[in-house]
């Protein structure tokens, strides 16, 4: 089980800010593939992952990063702070 969080338009497209996901995925990319296969709203949100950023346990990382043992994985668009 891993907590998956969504922010900004990714959250709006998927429809929830956070959910617990039962997964055996070993990388972020595997998790994206799993979720996209589930339902259209995931496939739509993850259609172009070059437009997305990911954090594993609150650290920015890449889509080929491992999620073994991770507590939370977050997907969001490029940040616009400041």
């Amino acid at each position: 089980m891993v907590d998956v969080l969504y922010f900004a338009w990714v959250r709006e497209r998927i429809g929830v800010p956070k959910e617990s996901v039962e997964t055996s995925a070993s990388t972020v990319a595997d998790l994206v593939t799993e979720l996209s296969a589930r339902e259209e709203r995931y496939a739509a949100a993850f259609a172009d992952i070059s437009a997305l950023r990911v954090a594993v346990d609150q650290e920015l990382t890449e889509f080929d990063a491992s999620i073994k043992g991770a507590r939370e994985v977050a997907f969001f668009p490029p940040m616009t702070g400041g």
Binding site: F7, A8, A55, Q58, A74, F76, M79, T80, G81, G82
Partner: protein, 148 residues
């Protein structure tokens, strides 16, 4: 180091004064303040800032600690708001204290460049005719290469 992620407004004057008074041995204080700017058409109703609670505080603390280390700062401050903001309201501020003005300026620019593209905040603009997420700017991403 003061790091604050808050929905309430902050008092630029009080924060600036308190920061400067705490660092009278430093000689140079630089502050940057960001204000919600209306668009040229004057149609901005409000801006909503979403963030990633937990990660935000961590990211800001790391960025500020890096700036303090790299430019040997006396101190750094970052305040960033989230939630609903009206045009004209202050979004955020950073402050740096250094013995030398160049370090204070560079560190403040570094903080801003990192905040823009690496701190987990997302802005949504509510216009008269609908709402839209603010796109990240390539020029903000490019600004980061200066610090590599």
């Amino acid at each position: 180091m003061k790091i604050s992620v808050q929905s309430e407004a902050f008092d630029l004057g009080a924060e600036s004064t308190a920061f400067a008074q705490g660092h009278q041995d430093q000689g140079a204080i630089v502050t940057f303040t960001g204000i919600v700017r209306d668009n040229p058409e004057g149609t901005l109703q409000k801006m909503t800032i979403e963030h990633y609670p937990g990660m935000t505080e961590k990211a800001l603390s790391e960025i500020a600690a890096q700036a303090v280390e790299r430019w040997s700062l006396g101190d750094a401050l970052v305040i960033h708001r989230y939630g609903d903001l009206a045009p004209g309201e202050m979004i955020m501020m950073v402050a740096t204290a250094s013995r030398h003005r160049k370090n204070a300026f560079e560190a403040a620019e570094y903080l801003m460049d990192y905040l823009k593209s690496r701190a987990p905040f997302w802005k949504k603009e509510f216009l008269k005719d609908g709402a839209e997420w603010v796109d990240a700017k390539q020029e903000d991403e490019d600004s980061l290469t200066r610090w590599e």
